[in-house]
Each structure stands twice: as structure tokens, then as C-alpha cells.
């Protein structure tokens, strides 16, 4: 809920007679929202869409009407612009929200699988926007490959494994407490690929899980497939950047803070885990306000 809030300011500065909202206006506003619900639709390809977007940006009362329609449907407006179109996303508990249990079977029964699917989505985003600048720069187009995402997570896990070995830790989890197993072990334990009878990707392998994630994101209009190399190559869309920046990143961060983990980086670089493990240790008093350097 960012940009459209600003629209009310010129309206406040130049008071107008409250124009009566006609049913036709409401229909147009709802039409615009319905365009937003088709994430793969490109604004530039549809004249009506383009026209409604222009009206949203020029007519504040129409903008407020469209926002209201979206909110009423349980949608959050991320941005309305020619590049991203009417970028809306599902609010929590809205009928449009995607549930993990619908997304993949087994996830309700198996915490490990649930984690793997979630981590795959997080890793795709981290690979697509490796540096904070990339996420902030509106013109940036990220590129990911399925095998690349898997390899990158594996490498991060292997570093943790090596570090644990250096410190002489025994990371084998206790048999009766699978929930206490370190998260990185779950990924490294799962095989990267697997032969299947019909030469498709093995769904339970990590490349299968990442492949599912990118295919789903492509359906959501967040990624576009560009090739078949390295298990499938994809590039990001403006909507994905908005979604990750304004919704997912902050939500996951809030959850992490609630767990008492305060990740501190020096603000400039990226894609590299903070070298000192102290930053990853739990902080005693949870809920410290997050500060980036």
C-alpha cells in the first residue's frame, strides 16, 4: 500500500466538488482490478487496460474507487504503473491467497517438505535479486536458473556443514526430535536430481522442488521463461520485484525478528552470509527493532 496513497494529496490541495460515482465508474474500476487479477497480462498489449491505467493515474477519485474495489475483494495494491500494470496481491486470508497445503501435497504431514518448498521460493528470490540494490532498482531484471538456485543453496549449506565440522560439532540430529535438526541439513540431505521412469524431473528432489517454485511463479506472472538451459532459465518481472520487496521480504523478516534473530549486515554487499557467526546467534531480548547499517 504505497504509491496510491500519495494520490490523495493533490486532491486535497485542489478541492473539487465531490463528483458523484456512477455505476459506470464502479464498473470501470472493477474492470481495472480484474485486469490486475490476470498477472500475465501485459498492460502495453491491451488498449483498454492501458486506458484504465492512465485514468487511474490522472483521476484521483477513480483511483480511490479502484483501490476500494481491490481492498473490498481482499487485495493489496502494490503499484499501479504502465510497467507493472495494476499490481495487486492477495491480502492475508483472502480468497486469492495461496495456501501451502494447496501448493504441494505432503507438506502438511512433513515439516521437512514444507520447509524445502518455502526455502525454494526464498532462494529463487535471493538468486533473482542477489544484492539489495537489485531489489531497490526498478529497472533491474533478475535472471535465475533452476540448477543455479539448487547449487547456490547447496553451497551455502555446505559452508555451514564445513563450519560445523571445523568447530567439531556433531550436527546429526537427535532421533526423537526431528524439529531440532538444523535447517541446512534438510536441503543437503535431499538429492539434487533423480531418474524417473518417464524422464521428468523427480518431484521430491531439490531441483524438482525449485522447478515447481519457478513454474508456479511463472504462472503468477512473476517470472518469464527464457530457455531450457540449466534446468530452465527465467527472468523476473516488475511484479515479482514489487512482491518480494514490499510483501514477502518484510513479512519473512518480521517473522525472523520475532524468533529473536537479528540479521545484521553492513548494508553494502550481499549474497554472502555475514562472515561472523555472532550475527546469526540468537539475541536474548527478542523484538529489538531491526536496523540496517
Amino acid at each position: 500500500m504505497t504509491e496510491h496513497v500519495d494520490r490523495s494529496e493533490p486532491e486535497a490541495a485542489v478541492p473539487q466538488a465531490p463528483a458523484a460515482v456512477t455505476p459506470a465508474d464502479a464498473a470501470d474500476a472493477a474492470r481495472l482490478v480484474s485486469f490486475g487479477l490476470q498477472p500475465k497480462l501485459q498492460p502495453a498489449r491491451d488498449q483498454e487496460y492501458t486506458e484504465l491505467l492512465r485514468r487511474y493515474r490522472e483521476d484521483p477519485s477513480f483511483a480511490r474507487l479502484a483501490d476500494a474495489v481491490a481492498t473490498g475483494l481482499g487485495l493489496v495494491v502494490l503499484e499501479v504503473s504502465p510497467r507493472a500494470g495494476m499490481a495487486v496481491t492477495a491480502a492475508e486470508d483472502s480468497v486469492f491467497a495461496v495456501r501451502m497445503s494447496d501448493y504441494a501435497r505432503r507438506t502438511s504431514a512433513d515439516g521437512g517438505d514444507r520447509f524445502l518448498h518455502g526455502l525454494a521460493h526464498l532462494a529463487v528470490a535471493a538468486m533473482a535479486f542477489p544484492r539489495p540494490e537489485d531489489l531497490a532498482d526498478d529497472g533491474y531484471i533478475g535472471r535465475v536458473t533452476v540448477n543455479g538456485v539448487d547449487a547456490f543453496v547447496r553451497q551455502a549449506c555446505r559452508r555451514l556443514e564445513e563450519r560445523a565440522e571445523e568447530q567439531g560439532e556433531n550436527t546429526d540430529p537427535a532421533t526423537d526430535a526431528p524439529g531440532l535438526e538444523a535447517a541446512w541439513r534438510i536441503w543437503i540431505r535431499r538429492s539434487a536430481a533423480g531418474a524417473t521412469k518417464d524422464a521428468r524431473r523427480l518431484a521430491g528432489s531439490t531441483t524438482g522442488i525449485v522447478g515447481k517454485a519457478v513454474a508456479f511463479l511463472t504462472d503468477s506472472g512473476f517470472l518469464q521463461r527464457t530457455g531450457d538451459d540449466h534446468g530452465g532459465t527465467y527472468r523476473t518481472t516488475a511484479r515479482y520485484q514489487l512482491q518480494v520487496r514490499d510483501m514477502a521480504g518484510s513479512a519473512a523478516m518480521a517473522e525472523l525478528l520475532e524468533l529473536g534473530v537479528v540479521p545484521v549486515t553492513d548494508g553494502t554487499p550481499t549474497l554472502l552470509p555475514a562472515e561472523d557467526t555472532d550475527a546469526l546467534d540468537l539475541v536474548a531480548d527478542a523484538g529489538l527493532p531491526f536496523h540496517s547499517a
Partner: protein, 523 residues
């Protein structure tokens, strides 16, 4: 000790630990001075338990072969499994791994040797069964789990899960899947390979040289094979480092660690290359000078192994030389982009890196939050009852099982380039259709043919020569009644165009009825 199924693994391993734990538990109960077994003292035991667990899947194969449908006890499954691990290790390439089908194909001779009378299909089934069990296809992780116990720092006893793989599947180019052996498997295979690669390699080379100079080729072959495993292991370490660099320059220490490693590896390659060429010369000499055929064979095998080692070194070297330019290119790409001052979220540093070390039950809360807010929206499907009825009542669309219509092929008439025409053949056959009791000389036939057509004698001569060795067997099987034959009785052919023997050409009658009777009798 026989191992049960994998689920029995825990208990059977615990039997191994039990003597140790009975020793240790009483002092703990007596609450006396803290028992000696801290994690440090226990570490060696844990390591050995894990090593022991790695061999369990192999024993398990022999235990479980009884459960297979069919009689499989004749096969030594553990032997096949070790051979499979061996093959995969040797066929692992720098970039990919070993091909699944190729490994199966190479395993079959050994399996066939174990049970030569069984069908090949069964041998292949055994190969696939062993390979699938080494991958452990049935499990979600495609790996193995063993349970063992250790003491925590505070002296309490904890059972732990040890997860390992022997053969893992990795994605190859073009969506294919390749096999690689894991470090655990290599350890199971050659034992105690978990040592410093370089020093182990030097030791192996020295040993090899000594063995060859003493003429002990059987031992030398073993040493050479070990040297090859180490070379593969070396490339594997390097491959991982380069892969990591390609993804992220900063993930690898390019200030010290990697340049050191590359320099070391280049030295190693140069050194080994010199070394192995020297060895090669030595073995070749041994191969050529030795009288004993067995020695000769072994020496020849050794030559192949050492050549293969040299090939791998060369491959390693070319990768090493590419490493520097790769780093610089990646540095340009990754590090010198214009920095923007921003306080945005660093997805890796702020989320991925902190989440991975968390315990699963906490980490999953973060990934769930990301998933819930990062997947966008799905428009829910709403069904009207009327539509539903229509959908359910619509007959399924007929599949076009014949496929698309084939375009009419555009045929081009090929020119008829036969030497003789059909009419000529008919005329020649008529000429050669001789009564069984009146054979004729070839010279007469040629003269008669020449009167009909100047080209015809060539065809007649050809047919007559062909009849000099008539296909009696074929004619017999096909139930022919007569057969053209030609016999040379020493008379010279007197003809303006042809030379050679003036053959007697005639027709032999075959006893078709008798032959048919013979055939039915034989059947």
C-alpha cells in the same frame, strides 16, 4: 554380522555400541566424578560407527536378495555393489557424472560371470536392482539413515540420526541425470581415503614406482587405481570451488585460499605428469620385456590406467588455466556494478543466511511467511452447478489416435539403369530352359543368343557362370522342382567375346515330393 532391513539398522548398530555404553553408564548413575566420555572422547567412536553404517547398505543387499521374486541367492550382491561404486567413481567426469545405463551395461559381465546360465535379462535386472538400492530410490531423500548414540557434553546419552548417500544423482546438461559417488562411498570403496589428497597421492605414486621396479605388477595395478581415485577426488574439490566462484565471487576466498589451491594444483599436475610419464616408460618396458603372459597382460592394463590418469590430469590442468580468467570476468560482472546507496532488504544476508542454521521448526516459520506473501495470488475456481452438469455430461473429446495426416510423398522416378532389360532376361531364361535329359554346351547357347540380340550373350554367360555353383540347399528348402547347373569338363570355350571353360549347362530335376516328405519327417 548379518544386517536386517534398513529399519533394523539402528538396533544392529547399537549392538556394536553396547559394550562401550555398559562401561560408561554405571559411573554416571553413581553420580561420581564426571565420566570421561565427553564428546571429544566419544568422537572417535561416533566416526567409526558412521563408517560402519556406510557399509550396511551393502550387507543389506545380500540379506534382502532372498525377498526378491525369483531365485537370486546365487548372486553376490555386495560384490556387484562394490563394483558399481567402483565403476561410477571411475566414470565420473569433471563436469558431469557417470551415465546410468552405461554403468548397468558394464556391470553385466561381472554379474553374468556369477551365474552364466541365467538369462541376460535377469543379469540386467540384478544390475538395476543393485544400482537402485545404492541410490535408495524408494526413500524420499534417496539416501540412507543410520542411528547411533553419543554422549553430550553434560554426559547424557543421545541417539542421533546419521544421513548419508552412496551414489547420488545429479542434474546433467539437457535435463539428464548422472550418477556420482559420494565421499562416503569412496571411503567405503578404498578405505581411509579421507586424508589429505596431495600427500596421499604422492605416497601412492612412490609406492607404484617401487612396485613396478620390483616387478610386482598386481600390487602396482592396485596402487595405480588408487592414484586414479585420488585424481578424481582432486578434480571434484576443484570443480566445487569453481562452481561456487561462477555463482558468487565473494563466496570463495580469492585472496589466499583459491590462488593457493590453484598454484598447488598446477604444481601437482606438472609433477604428476612428469611422474606418470616416467612410470609409463617403465611399465612399457616391463610389458615388452616380460615373458610371462600374465605379466604382459597386467602391464598392458597398467599402461591404460596410467594413460587415463594422464588424461585426467590434462583435463584438470585446462580447468585450472581457465580459473583465473573466469574469476576476473565474474569479478567484473559481480563486483564492479555501480553501487547504489540503499537500505533495502538483502535477501541473502538478511534472510537465507540466518534461516539456514536455525532448527527446522523455527526456520519453517520464516519460509512459511515468505511463501505466504511471495507467491502472489490465485484466482479461485468457482463452479456453477449448471456448468458442472454440462462438464460432467460432455463426452470426452475423441483423441486423434492416428495423428496428423501424412502428406503425399513427392516421388521422383529414378532412371532405370539396369544393364539388361526385362525382355532380355525373359529371352535368356527361355534359352536356358533346357530339357532335363539334354544339356548343352555354353558355346552353342552363346551363339544362339548372339543371333537374337548382341547383348544377350553377356546375360547368358553370367547366368551360366552363376549356375556353376547352384544353390542346391536353398532350392531344396524352397521345394523347387528343377535347378539350372553348369559343369566344367575341361573343354575350352571357343567364342569371339568370351574365354574360359566351355561349360556344360543343364537342368537337374529335384525330387520335390520326396523333399517335402523329408521335411515333414524332420519336423
Amino acid at each position: 554380522m548379518p544386517f536386517g532391513s534398513m529399519s533394523d539398522l539402528g538396533p544392529s548398530l547399537c549392538t556394536v555400541t553396547s559394550p562401550a555404553s555398559t562401561d560408561r553408564v554405571p559411573p554416571q548413575l553413581s553420580a561420581g566424578p564426571r565420566p570421561a566420555p565427553g564428546p571429544a572422547a566419544d568422537e572417535g567412536l561416533a566416526r567409526r560407527l558412521r563408517a560402519l553404517a556406510c557399509t550396511a547398505p551393502l550387507h543389506d543387499l545380500d540379506a534382502r536378495k532372498a525377498n526378491l521374486a525369483g531365485e537370486y541367492s546365487v548372486y553376490g550382491m555386495a560384490e556387484v555393489a562394490l563394483a558399481a561404486i567402483d565403476l561410477v567413481t571411475l566414470n565420473m567426469d569433471f563436469d558431469t557424472g557417470a551415465d546410468h545405463d552405461q554403468i548397468v551395461a558394464r556391470l553385466i559381465p561381472r554379474i553374468a560371470a556369477q551365474a552364466p546360465r541365467r538369462p541376460v535379462a535377469e543379469h540386467e535386472r540384478v544390475a538395476r536392482w543393485v544400482l537402485e538400492n545404492l541410490i535408495n530410490v524408494g526413500s524420499v531423500d534417496r539416501g540412507f539413515r543410520a542411528v547411533y548414540g553419543t554422549f553430550t557434553p553434560d554426559g547424557s546419552y543421545v541417539r542421533r540420526d546419521y544421513d548419508f548417500k552412496l551414489i547420488e544423482e545429479v542434474p546433467g546438461p539437457g535435463g539428464t541425470v548422472y550418477l556420482r559417488t559420494t565421499d562416503e562411498a569412496v571411503n567405503v570403496l578404498v578405505g581411509a581415503l579421507d586424508t589429505d589428497v596431495t600427500s596421499a597421492q604422492i605416497a601412492a605414486e612412490v609406492k607404484l614406482e617401487v612396485l613396478i621396479s620390483r616387478g610386482r605388477l598386481a600390487d602396482a595395478q592396485l596402487a595405480a587405481e588408487q592414484a586414479r581415485y585420488r585424481t578424481v577426488q582432486y578434480s571434484e574439490t576443484l570443480r566445487r570451488a569453481l562452481d561456487a566462484t561462477r555463482r558468487n565471487v565473494r563466496a570463495v576466498d580469492w585472496l589466499n585460499a583459491v590462488p593457493d589451491m590453484i598454484a598447488e594444483a598446477l604444481d601437482h599436475v606438472a609433477d604428476r605428469y612428469r611422474h606418470e610419464n616416467a612410470i609409463l616408460t617403465n611399465i612399457r618396458k616391463a610389458r615388452d620385456e616380460t615373458e610371462d603372459p600374465e605379466h604382459k597382460r597386467r602391464a598392458a592394463e597398467l599402461v591404460d590406467i596410467v594413460k587415463e590418469c594422464i588424461r585426467r590430469h590434462t583435463q584438470l590442468q585446462s580447468r585450472l588455466l581457465e580459473a583465473g580468467p573466469l574469476f576476473r570476468a565474474e569479478q567484473d560482472r559481480q563486483a564492479f556494478a555501480t553501487p547504489l546507496t540503499t537500505s533495502g532488504i538483502d535477501l541473502y544476508g538478511h534472510l537465507v543466511a540466518p534461516v539456514l542454521p536455525l532448527p527446522l521448526e523455527r526456520a519453517v516459520r520464516v519460509t512459511d511467511a515468505f511463501f505466504a506473501h511471495g507467491t502472489g495470488l490465485r484466482t479461485p475456481v468457482s463452479v456453477r452447478l449448471g456448468d458442472l452438469v454440462d462438464i460432467l455430461l460432455t463426452p470426452p473429446v475423441e483423441r486423434e489416435h492416428l495423428g496428423a495426416e501424412m502428406p503425399e510423398p513427392d516421388l521422383i522416378a529414378t532412371p532405370d539403369d539396369s544393364r539388361f532389360s526385362e525382355e532380355q532376361l525373359a529371352a535368356a531364361m527361355k534359352l536356358l530352359d533346357l530339357p532335363a535329359d539334354a544339356p548343352r554346351r555354353l558355346s552353342g547357347l552363346l551363339a544362339e543368343a548372339r543371333r537374337q540380340d548382341p547383348e544377350l550373350p553377356y546375360l547368358v554367360a553370367l547366368l551360366a557362370v552363376h549356375a556353376a555353383s547352384p544353390p542346391v540347399g536353398t532350392a531344396y528348402r524352397q521345394g523347387e522342382e528343377k535347378l539350372l547347373f553348369a559343369v566344367d569338363d575341361g573343354t575350352e570355350l571357343d567364342d569371339p567375346e568370351f574365354g574360359g571353360a566351355d561349360l556344360i549347362v543343364g537342368t537337374a530335376l529335384l525330387d520335390a515330393a520326396g523333399m517335402a516328405a523329408d521335411r515333414t519327417e524332420a519336423a
